[in-house]
Subunit: 211 residues, 2 copies
DNA sequence: CTTGTTTTGGACAGTGATGAACAAAATAAT
DNA sequence: ATTATTTTGTTCATCACTGTCCAAAACAAG
Protein backbone atom coordinates (compact mmCIF):
# COMPACT_ATOMS: atom_id res chain seq x y z
CA UNK A 1 0.00 0.00 0.00
CA UNK A 2 2.48 2.57 1.25
CA UNK A 3 4.88 1.77 -1.54
CA UNK A 4 2.40 2.92 -4.14
CA UNK A 5 1.21 6.07 -2.42
CA UNK A 6 3.78 8.51 -3.70
CA UNK A 7 3.41 8.37 -7.45
CA UNK A 8 5.00 10.55 -10.02
CA UNK A 9 2.22 12.96 -10.90
CA UNK A 10 4.15 14.41 -13.79
CA UNK A 11 5.36 11.63 -15.99
CA UNK A 12 6.79 12.72 -19.29
CA UNK A 13 5.95 9.46 -21.01
CA UNK A 14 4.36 6.15 -20.23
CA UNK A 15 6.54 3.07 -20.49
CA UNK A 16 6.20 0.95 -23.58
CA UNK A 17 6.46 1.49 -27.27
CA UNK A 18 5.50 5.02 -28.23
CA UNK A 19 2.70 5.67 -30.67
CA UNK A 20 3.89 6.31 -34.20
CA UNK A 21 1.18 8.90 -34.84
CA UNK A 22 -0.47 11.88 -33.20
CA UNK A 23 -3.85 11.08 -31.73
CA UNK A 24 -5.28 14.60 -32.26
CA UNK A 25 -4.15 14.53 -35.86
CA UNK A 26 -5.72 11.14 -36.29
CA UNK A 27 -9.01 12.54 -35.03
CA UNK A 28 -8.64 15.44 -37.42
CA UNK A 29 -8.10 13.00 -40.31
CA UNK A 30 -11.18 11.10 -39.21
CA UNK A 31 -13.17 14.34 -39.11
CA UNK A 32 -12.23 15.18 -42.67
CA UNK A 33 -13.06 11.68 -43.85
CA UNK A 34 -16.46 11.66 -42.17
CA UNK A 35 -17.07 15.18 -43.38
CA UNK A 36 -16.38 14.28 -46.97
CA UNK A 37 -18.04 10.89 -47.18
CA UNK A 38 -20.59 10.72 -44.41
CA UNK A 39 -20.60 8.34 -41.48
CA UNK A 40 -22.11 5.31 -43.16
CA UNK A 41 -19.79 5.39 -46.14
CA UNK A 42 -16.63 5.33 -44.01
CA UNK A 43 -15.17 2.01 -42.87
CA UNK A 44 -12.57 1.44 -40.20
CA UNK A 45 -10.14 0.65 -43.00
CA UNK A 46 -10.89 4.03 -44.56
CA UNK A 47 -10.24 5.72 -41.24
CA UNK A 48 -7.00 3.86 -40.67
CA UNK A 49 -5.87 4.75 -44.20
CA UNK A 50 -6.73 8.41 -43.65
CA UNK A 51 -4.85 8.34 -40.38
CA UNK A 52 -1.89 6.61 -41.99
CA UNK A 53 -1.98 3.71 -39.58
CA UNK A 54 -2.98 0.05 -39.53
CA UNK A 55 -6.38 -1.10 -38.38
CA UNK A 56 -4.82 -2.75 -35.34
CA UNK A 57 -3.47 0.59 -34.20
CA UNK A 58 -6.88 2.10 -34.75
CA UNK A 59 -8.56 -0.49 -32.58
CA UNK A 60 -5.87 -0.07 -29.98
CA UNK A 61 -6.39 3.68 -29.76
CA UNK A 62 -10.12 4.05 -30.40
CA UNK A 63 -13.06 1.92 -29.50
CA UNK A 64 -14.85 1.85 -32.81
CA UNK A 65 -16.17 3.97 -35.67
CA UNK A 66 -18.83 5.60 -33.56
CA UNK A 67 -16.56 6.69 -30.73
CA UNK A 68 -14.07 8.30 -33.09
CA UNK A 69 -16.95 10.00 -34.87
CA UNK A 70 -18.00 11.58 -31.61
CA UNK A 71 -14.49 12.90 -31.07
CA UNK A 72 -14.40 14.17 -34.63
CA UNK A 73 -17.75 15.85 -34.06
CA UNK A 74 -16.49 17.68 -30.99
CA UNK A 75 -13.46 18.84 -32.93
CA UNK A 76 -15.66 20.00 -35.78
CA UNK A 77 -18.03 21.94 -33.57
CA UNK A 78 -15.17 23.99 -32.23
CA UNK A 79 -13.94 24.75 -35.73
CA UNK A 80 -17.27 25.47 -37.45
CA UNK A 81 -18.19 29.05 -38.40
CA UNK A 82 -21.10 29.21 -35.96
CA UNK A 83 -18.76 28.66 -33.02
CA UNK A 84 -18.17 32.41 -33.09
CA UNK A 85 -21.67 32.91 -31.70
CA UNK A 86 -20.40 31.68 -28.35
CA UNK A 87 -18.32 34.85 -28.11
CA UNK A 88 -21.38 37.11 -28.16
CA UNK A 89 -21.67 39.03 -24.89
CA UNK A 90 -24.15 41.47 -23.45
CA UNK A 91 -22.81 44.97 -23.83
CA UNK A 92 -21.00 44.28 -27.07
CA UNK A 93 -22.72 44.54 -30.45
CA UNK A 94 -24.00 41.17 -31.66
CA UNK A 95 -25.03 42.03 -35.20
CA UNK A 96 -21.42 42.21 -36.43
CA UNK A 97 -20.88 38.77 -34.95
CA UNK A 98 -23.90 37.41 -36.79
CA UNK A 99 -22.87 39.03 -40.05
CA UNK A 100 -19.33 37.75 -39.67
CA UNK A 101 -20.60 34.24 -39.10
CA UNK A 102 -22.76 34.30 -42.22
CA UNK A 103 -19.98 35.79 -44.29
CA UNK A 104 -17.65 33.11 -43.04
CA UNK A 105 -20.10 30.35 -43.89
CA UNK A 106 -20.45 31.69 -47.43
CA UNK A 107 -16.73 32.04 -47.78
CA UNK A 108 -15.71 28.70 -46.32
CA UNK A 109 -18.42 26.62 -47.98
CA UNK A 110 -17.88 28.08 -51.42
CA UNK A 111 -14.11 27.77 -51.16
CA UNK A 112 -14.21 24.13 -50.20
CA UNK A 113 -13.36 22.33 -53.45
CA UNK A 114 -15.01 19.20 -52.14
CA UNK A 115 -18.27 20.99 -51.28
CA UNK A 116 -18.61 19.10 -48.06
CA UNK A 117 -21.09 21.49 -46.51
CA UNK A 118 -21.46 21.25 -42.74
CA UNK A 119 -20.66 18.00 -40.95
CA UNK A 120 -23.43 18.52 -38.41
CA UNK A 121 -26.09 19.36 -40.97
CA UNK A 122 -25.06 16.49 -43.20
CA UNK A 123 -25.32 14.22 -40.20
CA UNK A 124 -28.87 15.29 -39.37
CA UNK A 125 -30.16 13.58 -42.46
CA UNK A 126 -27.86 10.61 -42.11
CA UNK A 127 -27.96 9.84 -38.40
CA UNK A 128 -30.94 11.36 -36.59
CA UNK A 129 -33.61 8.70 -36.30
CA UNK A 130 -31.33 5.96 -37.62
CA UNK A 131 -28.36 5.74 -35.31
CA UNK A 132 -29.25 5.41 -31.64
CA UNK A 133 -25.83 6.41 -30.39
CA UNK A 134 -24.92 9.21 -32.76
CA UNK A 135 -28.37 10.57 -33.57
CA UNK A 136 -28.96 12.03 -30.10
CA UNK A 137 -25.58 13.75 -30.21
CA UNK A 138 -26.52 15.45 -33.44
CA UNK A 139 -29.88 16.43 -32.01
CA UNK A 140 -28.06 17.90 -29.06
CA UNK A 141 -25.89 19.97 -31.38
CA UNK A 142 -28.94 21.33 -33.20
CA UNK A 143 -30.77 22.17 -30.00
CA UNK A 144 -27.63 23.76 -28.64
CA UNK A 145 -27.38 25.97 -31.69
CA UNK A 146 -30.95 27.13 -31.22
CA UNK A 147 -30.36 27.91 -27.57
CA UNK A 148 -27.29 29.97 -28.39
CA UNK A 149 -29.10 31.80 -31.17
CA UNK A 150 -32.04 32.59 -28.94
CA UNK A 151 -29.68 34.12 -26.44
CA UNK A 152 -27.88 36.15 -29.10
CA UNK A 153 -31.17 37.36 -30.57
CA UNK A 154 -32.41 38.49 -27.18
CA UNK A 155 -29.24 40.44 -26.60
CA UNK A 156 -29.48 42.03 -30.03
CA UNK A 157 -33.11 42.99 -29.53
CA UNK A 158 -32.46 44.34 -26.04
CA UNK A 159 -29.64 46.45 -27.39
CA UNK A 160 -31.78 47.80 -30.21
CA UNK A 161 -29.66 46.19 -32.89
CA UNK A 162 -32.37 43.83 -34.11
CA UNK A 163 -35.98 44.66 -34.85
CA UNK A 164 -38.14 43.23 -32.02
CA UNK A 165 -40.12 40.12 -32.93
CA UNK A 166 -43.15 38.56 -31.30
CA UNK A 167 -41.73 35.12 -30.73
CA UNK A 168 -37.98 35.12 -30.09
CA UNK A 169 -37.82 31.39 -29.61
CA UNK A 170 -39.52 30.76 -32.94
CA UNK A 171 -37.18 33.27 -34.59
CA UNK A 172 -34.24 31.36 -33.16
CA UNK A 173 -35.75 28.25 -34.69
CA UNK A 174 -36.08 30.08 -37.97
CA UNK A 175 -32.45 31.09 -37.73
CA UNK A 176 -31.31 27.53 -37.10
CA UNK A 177 -33.42 26.28 -39.97
CA UNK A 178 -31.93 28.91 -42.24
CA UNK A 179 -28.41 28.04 -41.18
CA UNK A 180 -29.01 24.35 -41.73
CA UNK A 181 -30.58 25.05 -45.08
CA UNK A 182 -27.81 27.43 -46.08
CA UNK A 183 -25.20 24.80 -45.36
CA UNK A 184 -27.16 22.24 -47.35
CA UNK A 185 -27.75 24.57 -50.25
CA UNK A 186 -24.07 25.52 -50.26
CA UNK A 187 -23.38 22.08 -51.67
CA UNK A 188 -25.43 23.01 -54.72
CA UNK A 189 -24.97 26.77 -55.01
CA UNK A 190 -21.22 27.11 -55.22
CA UNK A 191 -20.82 30.84 -55.82
CA UNK A 192 -19.87 32.86 -52.77
CA UNK A 193 -21.59 36.03 -53.94
CA UNK A 194 -24.81 34.20 -54.63
CA UNK A 195 -24.72 32.60 -51.20
CA UNK A 196 -24.08 35.98 -49.64
CA UNK A 197 -27.04 37.53 -51.46
CA UNK A 198 -29.20 34.84 -49.91
CA UNK A 199 -27.80 35.73 -46.50
CA UNK A 200 -28.47 39.40 -47.14
CA UNK A 201 -32.06 38.58 -48.01
CA UNK A 202 -32.29 36.72 -44.75
CA UNK A 203 -30.74 39.47 -42.70
CA UNK A 204 -33.00 42.04 -44.31
CA UNK A 205 -36.05 39.87 -43.71
CA UNK A 206 -35.42 39.60 -39.98
CA UNK A 207 -34.58 43.27 -39.70
CA UNK A 208 -30.80 43.39 -39.80
CA UNK A 209 -30.12 45.69 -42.69
CA UNK A 210 -27.58 48.34 -41.94
CA UNK A 211 -23.90 47.92 -42.44
CA UNK B 1 -40.70 -8.42 -92.86
CA UNK B 2 -44.33 -8.29 -93.88
CA UNK B 3 -45.23 -11.04 -91.46
CA UNK B 4 -44.19 -8.92 -88.53
CA UNK B 5 -45.80 -5.68 -89.59
CA UNK B 6 -49.22 -6.15 -88.08
CA UNK B 7 -48.57 -6.55 -84.39
CA UNK B 8 -50.98 -6.53 -81.55
CA UNK B 9 -50.59 -3.05 -80.20
CA UNK B 10 -52.70 -3.77 -77.16
CA UNK B 11 -51.37 -6.84 -75.45
CA UNK B 12 -52.88 -7.55 -72.08
CA UNK B 13 -49.86 -9.47 -70.88
CA UNK B 14 -46.49 -10.51 -72.10
CA UNK B 15 -45.87 -14.24 -72.48
CA UNK B 16 -43.94 -15.97 -69.77
CA UNK B 17 -44.24 -16.29 -66.04
CA UNK B 18 -46.00 -13.30 -64.53
CA UNK B 19 -44.29 -11.23 -61.86
CA UNK B 20 -45.32 -12.14 -58.37
CA UNK B 21 -45.19 -8.51 -57.24
CA UNK B 22 -46.23 -5.03 -58.34
CA UNK B 23 -43.38 -2.99 -59.73
CA UNK B 24 -44.81 0.38 -58.63
CA UNK B 25 -45.35 -0.97 -55.14
CA UNK B 26 -41.80 -2.27 -55.12
CA UNK B 27 -40.55 1.20 -55.99
CA UNK B 28 -42.70 2.61 -53.22
CA UNK B 29 -41.21 0.15 -50.77
CA UNK B 30 -37.74 1.15 -51.95
CA UNK B 31 -38.62 4.82 -51.49
CA UNK B 32 -39.67 4.24 -47.90
CA UNK B 33 -36.55 2.24 -47.17
CA UNK B 34 -34.23 4.85 -48.65
CA UNK B 35 -36.21 7.56 -46.93
CA UNK B 36 -35.86 5.96 -43.54
CA UNK B 37 -32.28 4.73 -43.71
CA UNK B 38 -30.50 6.80 -46.33
CA UNK B 39 -29.00 5.55 -49.56
CA UNK B 40 -25.70 4.29 -48.22
CA UNK B 41 -27.22 2.28 -45.40
CA UNK B 42 -29.55 0.32 -47.69
CA UNK B 43 -28.30 -2.86 -49.36
CA UNK B 44 -29.90 -4.72 -52.23
CA UNK B 45 -30.88 -7.36 -49.70
CA UNK B 46 -32.65 -4.71 -47.65
CA UNK B 47 -34.50 -3.53 -50.73
CA UNK B 48 -35.51 -7.04 -51.73
CA UNK B 49 -36.72 -7.69 -48.19
CA UNK B 50 -38.73 -4.48 -48.17
CA UNK B 51 -40.21 -5.41 -51.52
CA UNK B 52 -40.99 -8.92 -50.32
CA UNK B 53 -39.01 -10.54 -53.11
CA UNK B 54 -35.74 -12.35 -53.63
CA UNK B 55 -32.60 -10.59 -54.75
CA UNK B 56 -32.71 -12.40 -58.05
CA UNK B 57 -36.09 -10.88 -58.79
CA UNK B 58 -34.71 -7.51 -57.85
CA UNK B 59 -31.81 -7.81 -60.27
CA UNK B 60 -34.19 -9.09 -62.91
CA UNK B 61 -36.45 -6.08 -62.58
CA UNK B 62 -34.05 -3.29 -61.68
CA UNK B 63 -30.53 -2.57 -62.72
CA UNK B 64 -28.99 -1.81 -59.36
CA UNK B 65 -29.37 0.17 -56.17
CA UNK B 66 -28.79 3.48 -57.88
CA UNK B 67 -31.33 3.04 -60.63
CA UNK B 68 -34.08 2.08 -58.23
CA UNK B 69 -33.13 5.04 -56.08
CA UNK B 70 -33.71 7.34 -59.01
CA UNK B 71 -37.15 5.86 -59.56
CA UNK B 72 -37.90 6.19 -55.87
CA UNK B 73 -36.74 9.78 -56.01
CA UNK B 74 -39.11 10.59 -58.86
CA UNK B 75 -41.95 9.00 -56.96
CA UNK B 76 -41.05 10.97 -53.85
CA UNK B 77 -40.88 14.29 -55.62
CA UNK B 78 -44.43 13.88 -56.82
CA UNK B 79 -45.62 13.04 -53.31
CA UNK B 80 -43.67 15.66 -51.34
CA UNK B 81 -45.47 18.66 -49.83
CA UNK B 82 -43.69 21.17 -52.05
CA UNK B 83 -45.11 19.55 -55.19
CA UNK B 84 -48.16 21.73 -54.63
CA UNK B 85 -46.12 24.74 -55.74
CA UNK B 86 -46.36 23.47 -59.30
CA UNK B 87 -50.09 24.23 -59.22
CA UNK B 88 -49.51 27.96 -58.67
CA UNK B 89 -50.87 29.95 -61.61
CA UNK B 90 -50.91 33.60 -62.55
CA UNK B 91 -54.30 35.04 -61.78
CA UNK B 92 -54.91 32.82 -58.77
CA UNK B 93 -53.68 33.73 -55.29
CA UNK B 94 -50.31 32.13 -54.48
CA UNK B 95 -49.99 32.95 -50.80
CA UNK B 96 -52.59 30.37 -49.77
CA UNK B 97 -50.63 27.81 -51.75
CA UNK B 98 -47.43 28.73 -49.94
CA UNK B 99 -49.12 28.68 -46.56
CA UNK B 100 -50.74 25.33 -47.32
CA UNK B 101 -47.39 23.89 -48.30
CA UNK B 102 -45.72 25.01 -45.08
CA UNK B 103 -48.62 23.79 -42.98
CA UNK B 104 -48.46 20.46 -44.73
CA UNK B 105 -44.74 20.17 -44.13
CA UNK B 106 -45.21 20.83 -40.43
CA UNK B 107 -48.07 18.39 -40.24
CA UNK B 108 -46.52 15.57 -42.21
CA UNK B 109 -43.05 15.80 -40.70
CA UNK B 110 -44.26 15.96 -37.13
CA UNK B 111 -46.74 13.13 -37.64
CA UNK B 112 -44.15 10.80 -39.10
CA UNK B 113 -43.29 8.50 -36.18
CA UNK B 114 -39.99 7.67 -37.82
CA UNK B 115 -38.98 11.31 -38.25
CA UNK B 116 -37.60 10.70 -41.67
CA UNK B 117 -37.63 14.32 -42.72
CA UNK B 118 -37.42 14.93 -46.47
CA UNK B 119 -35.80 12.38 -48.74
CA UNK B 120 -34.36 15.05 -51.03
CA UNK B 121 -32.92 17.15 -48.22
CA UNK B 122 -31.49 14.10 -46.48
CA UNK B 123 -29.88 13.14 -49.75
CA UNK B 124 -28.18 16.49 -50.20
CA UNK B 125 -25.88 15.77 -47.31
CA UNK B 126 -25.44 12.13 -48.22
CA UNK B 127 -25.03 12.18 -51.99
CA UNK B 128 -24.10 15.60 -53.39
CA UNK B 129 -20.36 15.65 -53.89
CA UNK B 130 -19.99 11.97 -53.07
CA UNK B 131 -22.05 10.05 -55.58
CA UNK B 132 -21.40 10.98 -59.19
CA UNK B 133 -24.60 9.42 -60.50
CA UNK B 134 -27.08 10.38 -57.81
CA UNK B 135 -25.55 13.65 -56.65
CA UNK B 136 -26.37 15.57 -59.82
CA UNK B 137 -29.95 14.39 -59.67
CA UNK B 138 -30.31 15.77 -56.18
CA UNK B 139 -28.70 19.02 -57.26
CA UNK B 140 -31.20 19.18 -60.08
CA UNK B 141 -34.05 18.76 -57.62
CA UNK B 142 -32.74 21.59 -55.46
CA UNK B 143 -32.23 23.93 -58.39
CA UNK B 144 -35.66 23.01 -59.70
CA UNK B 145 -37.20 23.94 -56.38
CA UNK B 146 -35.53 27.33 -56.49
CA UNK B 147 -36.72 27.97 -60.01
CA UNK B 148 -40.29 27.13 -59.08
CA UNK B 149 -40.13 29.29 -55.98
CA UNK B 150 -38.74 32.22 -57.89
CA UNK B 151 -41.65 31.97 -60.30
CA UNK B 152 -44.17 31.73 -57.49
CA UNK B 153 -42.62 34.68 -55.67
CA UNK B 154 -42.75 36.83 -58.80
CA UNK B 155 -46.41 36.04 -59.30
CA UNK B 156 -47.14 36.82 -55.67
CA UNK B 157 -45.30 40.12 -55.82
CA UNK B 158 -46.93 41.10 -59.12
CA UNK B 159 -50.32 40.39 -57.66
CA UNK B 160 -49.62 42.43 -54.55
CA UNK B 161 -49.79 39.44 -52.24
CA UNK B 162 -46.16 39.53 -51.22
CA UNK B 163 -44.12 42.54 -50.16
CA UNK B 164 -41.75 43.46 -53.01
CA UNK B 165 -38.11 42.58 -52.44
CA UNK B 166 -34.97 43.84 -54.09
CA UNK B 167 -33.57 40.53 -55.21
CA UNK B 168 -36.25 38.00 -56.07
CA UNK B 169 -33.76 35.34 -57.06
CA UNK B 170 -31.93 35.64 -53.76
CA UNK B 171 -35.25 35.52 -51.93
CA UNK B 172 -36.08 32.32 -53.77
CA UNK B 173 -32.72 30.99 -52.62
CA UNK B 174 -33.58 32.05 -49.09
CA UNK B 175 -36.89 30.24 -49.40
CA UNK B 176 -35.22 27.04 -50.60
CA UNK B 177 -32.67 27.24 -47.82
CA UNK B 178 -35.44 27.72 -45.28
CA UNK B 179 -37.40 24.78 -46.66
CA UNK B 180 -34.33 22.56 -46.61
CA UNK B 181 -33.52 23.67 -43.09
CA UNK B 182 -37.08 23.24 -41.93
CA UNK B 183 -37.12 19.68 -43.16
CA UNK B 184 -33.81 18.99 -41.45
CA UNK B 185 -34.87 20.63 -38.23
CA UNK B 186 -38.14 18.70 -38.28
CA UNK B 187 -36.13 15.61 -37.40
CA UNK B 188 -35.15 17.27 -34.14
CA UNK B 189 -38.11 19.52 -33.37
CA UNK B 190 -40.99 17.09 -33.32
CA UNK B 191 -43.86 19.32 -32.22
CA UNK B 192 -46.15 20.49 -35.02
CA UNK B 193 -47.08 23.74 -33.30
CA UNK B 194 -43.47 24.63 -32.70
CA UNK B 195 -42.61 23.94 -36.32
CA UNK B 196 -45.54 26.05 -37.43
CA UNK B 197 -44.44 28.95 -35.25
CA UNK B 198 -41.11 28.83 -37.02
CA UNK B 199 -42.92 28.94 -40.35
CA UNK B 200 -45.00 31.88 -39.16
CA UNK B 201 -41.84 33.71 -38.21
CA UNK B 202 -40.54 33.03 -41.68
CA UNK B 203 -43.71 34.16 -43.42
CA UNK B 204 -43.83 37.31 -41.34
CA UNK B 205 -40.18 38.01 -42.05
CA UNK B 206 -40.65 37.92 -45.80
CA UNK B 207 -43.85 39.93 -45.62
CA UNK B 208 -46.60 37.33 -45.75
CA UNK B 209 -48.55 38.05 -42.61
CA UNK B 210 -52.26 38.20 -43.15
CA UNK B 211 -54.51 35.23 -42.95
C1' DC C 1 -51.03 -30.07 -75.26
C1' DT C 2 -46.86 -28.23 -76.75
C1' DT C 3 -43.70 -24.54 -77.30
C1' DG C 4 -41.61 -20.30 -76.14
C1' DT C 5 -40.83 -16.80 -72.79
C1' DT C 6 -40.26 -14.81 -68.42
C1' DT C 7 -39.89 -14.90 -63.42
C1' DT C 8 -38.30 -17.10 -59.42
C1' DG C 9 -35.55 -19.47 -55.84
C1' DG C 10 -31.28 -21.04 -54.71
C1' DA C 11 -26.41 -21.44 -55.23
C1' DC C 12 -21.92 -19.67 -56.39
C1' DA C 13 -17.47 -17.14 -56.25
C1' DG C 14 -15.36 -12.83 -55.32
C1' DT C 15 -14.78 -8.91 -52.43
C1' DG C 16 -14.32 -6.44 -48.38
C1' DA C 17 -15.35 -5.40 -43.53
C1' DT C 18 -15.22 -6.61 -38.65
C1' DG C 19 -13.13 -7.53 -34.31
C1' DA C 20 -10.07 -10.48 -31.98
C1' DA C 21 -5.63 -12.68 -31.26
C1' DC C 22 -0.69 -12.94 -31.19
C1' DA C 23 4.14 -12.35 -31.88
C1' DA C 24 7.48 -8.83 -32.87
C1' DA C 25 9.11 -4.24 -32.01
C1' DA C 26 10.18 -0.30 -29.24
C1' DT C 27 10.67 2.10 -25.27
C1' DA C 28 10.79 3.37 -19.76
C1' DA C 29 12.00 1.82 -15.47
C1' DT C 30 15.06 -0.71 -12.59
C1' DA D 1 21.32 -5.36 -19.43
C1' DT D 2 16.99 -6.97 -17.98
C1' DT D 3 12.15 -6.51 -17.27
C1' DA D 4 7.68 -4.64 -17.80
C1' DT D 5 4.66 -2.30 -20.78
C1' DT D 6 2.69 -0.60 -24.84
C1' DT D 7 2.22 -0.20 -29.85
C1' DT D 8 2.46 -2.31 -34.23
C1' DG D 9 2.13 -5.57 -38.17
C1' DT D 10 0.04 -9.63 -39.45
C1' DT D 11 -3.09 -13.29 -39.43
C1' DC D 12 -7.46 -15.43 -38.57
C1' DA D 13 -12.41 -16.68 -38.56
C1' DT D 14 -16.74 -14.81 -39.43
C1' DC D 15 -19.99 -12.38 -41.71
C1' DA D 16 -22.53 -9.56 -45.25
C1' DC D 17 -22.95 -7.91 -49.76
C1' DT D 18 -22.57 -8.02 -54.80
C1' DG D 19 -23.52 -9.67 -59.28
C1' DT D 20 -24.06 -13.78 -61.97
C1' DC D 21 -25.72 -18.22 -63.26
C1' DC D 22 -28.91 -21.94 -63.77
C1' DA D 23 -32.67 -25.06 -63.19
C1' DA D 24 -37.41 -25.08 -61.93
C1' DA D 25 -41.80 -22.83 -62.11
C1' DA D 26 -45.55 -20.42 -64.28
C1' DC D 27 -47.90 -18.58 -67.72
C1' DA D 28 -49.34 -16.94 -73.05
C1' DA D 29 -49.71 -18.16 -77.59
C1' DG D 30 -50.46 -21.35 -81.09
Amino acid sequence: MASGVVRQVKRSRKPGRPMAFSRPEAVRAAMNTFWKNGFEAVSVSDLADAMGIERSSFYNTFKDRESVFLEALDLYRGLAPDAVLLTARKGAPVVPVIRAMLREICRVRSHDPEARGCLVVNSIGALVGTNDTLGPRIEEAVRGARTVLEKVLRIGIDQGEIRPVGDVRATAGLFVAFLAGLNSVSKVIRDEKELWRICQSFLASIGIDRE
